[in-house]
């Protein structure tokens, strides 16, 4: 036993330090299926209560959809529980190929490879494709998994100011001597809910002979007229070279991710991407359920249309109620509070009102930009949305922030 008391104290000290900085994440237990209304034990040990969920990535409300659950059961029955293998040894079933083909068709790409998660897809794709002769030019606010993947790759990397096309252009010119340039962006940025201007990014990419990779995890299934993602929304379906995305959000919400794109890039991932090579194949039940999700959303846009309507309703009503939100059109709606303690306190009070939302602050978002991030779902009813807005109004009044914008809130609470 080498875990001495000295070693224990070392790690306990680090946990204390996280608590002192106010960054400690509390445990919250959901005691029901994922849905618009859930049963929650929070704080740990407290009696369970039913609350409305406004902080999940269950954008299309498919996480517990009966047809998706049924398909997962069919996957279990017909293909078993697990593969006990990585894909390239004996872990690839016909249904893995089927899901890959269905995703390629859905996203309008040449080929697709599944990963255990989009975190893994992002961790693996850069190293598999690029080398030290190449450069990655990334938006500064890309997701942490892209940052990690870029750092694991031997290519040089550089960054541009968030969604600043002038700065991106400068960086493309700066790196014109590199063998390959790859622009990397989120499709929808998860904290602000803003859409990367893919039309402008793709135009710059063409002008400067650069590839484009977009992580569309917060867009696949509902952004664009038929839910294909940001490349559909901006009319550049044929201009994006690589899409990474997840099955863990709108597309069923279980787990799994993929790299979809040019066939050589997908093949290189199969041959070289370490999270793919050294991680188990996606479980058959998840694969079958994900195929069902693609079926459902390919047949009808009803769910993404409902999500769009819900988003519009919430954005209009929350603004009319006097809360200050970042303008936008996606179902990620940051209610801006700027001060970390205020964001935490208000989120706690919202829970007391029966609304489950979470406060975000530095380092998850920039310092002085604390907020409560609200996420809409197609599963929300009009009444539930109105209930959420009413709770925000009540809690906002308690803290005296109704009608205040950035300067007013900062003057009252600081940053």
């Amino acid at each position: 036993m080498a875990y001495s008391s000295k070693t224990r104290s070392l790690f306990a000290g680090e946990i204390d330090s996280i608590k002192e900085k106010g960054l400690f994440k509390e445990k919250r237990y959901i005691c029901s299926p994922q849905d618009a209304e859930i049963e929650v034990e929070y704080p740990e040990g407290a009696p369970k209560r039913h609350v409305l969920n406004f902080c999940s990535n269950n954008y299309l409300g498919l996480s517990s959809h009966p047809e998706v659950v049924k398909a997962a059961h069919e996957g279990l029955d017909s293909r078993g529980y697990g593969m006990s293998s990585v894909r390239f040894i004996c872990g690839t079933q016909d249904i893995h190929r089927e899901l890959q083909d269905r995703m390629s068709k859905f996203l309008g790409m040449e080929d697709t490879i599944l990963f255990p998660s989009c975190m893994d897809a992002n961790a693996g794709v850069f190293e598999a494709v690029l080398g030290q002769e190449d450069v990655i030019i990334a938006d500064r606010l890309i997701h942490a998994s892209l940052v990690d993947g870029i750092r694991l790759c031997s290519a040089e990397y550089d960054t541009y100011k968030h969604m600043n096309m002038k700065h991106l252009k400068e960086k493309l010119e700066l790196h014109k001597d590199k063998r390959t340039r790859m622009i990397v962006t989120d499709g929808v940025f998860s904290m602000d809910g803003d859409l990367a201007p893919m039309d402008e990014i793709c135009a710059l990419a063409e002008e400067h002979d650069a590839m484009v990779l977009v992580d569309d995890s917060h867009a696949s299934g509902f952004i664009g007229k038929t839910g294909r993602g940001v490349h559909e929304h901006f009319g550049v379906m044929d201009k994006v070279d690589i899409i990474t995305t997840t099955f863990g959000k709108a597309l069923g919400g279980a787990s799994g991710g993929c790299v979809s794109g040019k066939r050589e890039i997908v093949e290189l991932c199969f041959q070289k991407a370490r999270p793919f090579l050294f991680s188990n194949a996606l479980a058959p039940s998840i694969v079958k359920a994900s195929i069902k999700v693609i079926d459902l959303i390919s047949k009808s846009t009803e769910r993404r249309d409902r999500l769009e309507t819900n988003t519009k309703r919430f954005r209009e009503k929350i603004t009319a109620a006097g809360l200050f939100v970042r303008p936008g059109e996606t179902p990620i709606v940051p209610v801006m509070l700027y001060n970390a303690k205020l964001a935490n306190d208000m989120a706690r009070d919202m829970y007391a009102e029966g609304i489950y939302v979470v406060g975000f602050f530095f380092p998850v978002v920039p310092a002085g930009a604390a907020r409560i991030r609200v996420q809409l779902s197609a599963a929300h009813t009009d009444q539930q949305i109105d209930q959420c807005v009413a709770a925000f109004r009540k809690v906002g009044e308690k803290y005296g922030i109704i009608g205040l914008e950035k300067d007013g809130i900062i003057a009252k609470y600081g940053m």
């Binding site: 500064r140 940052v147 990397y157 960054t159 310092a367």
Partner: protein, 83 residues
Amino acid sequence: MAEMKDVVLEYVVNEYVDEDDGTTVSYDTPLISSGIVDSFSMVSLKVFLEKKYQIKLPDDEATPEAFDTVNSIVRLVQKHQGK
């Protein structure tokens, strides 16, 4: 000395501060610990310094602490210029 400080300061302002956000940066303004520069985008500054001053900054020295102010950045560059 003053010239390098100003070159670095100008780069930091142009590279990391949005025109409309009103942030002012001086030689001693914390850059990393205040969130003006995050550890991911810090690489742009490192590449700039290496190219501009024809030096190689080892990863174990190009730390968030060493890059936290214009003054500390200048000290790091000068140390490597002397090598």
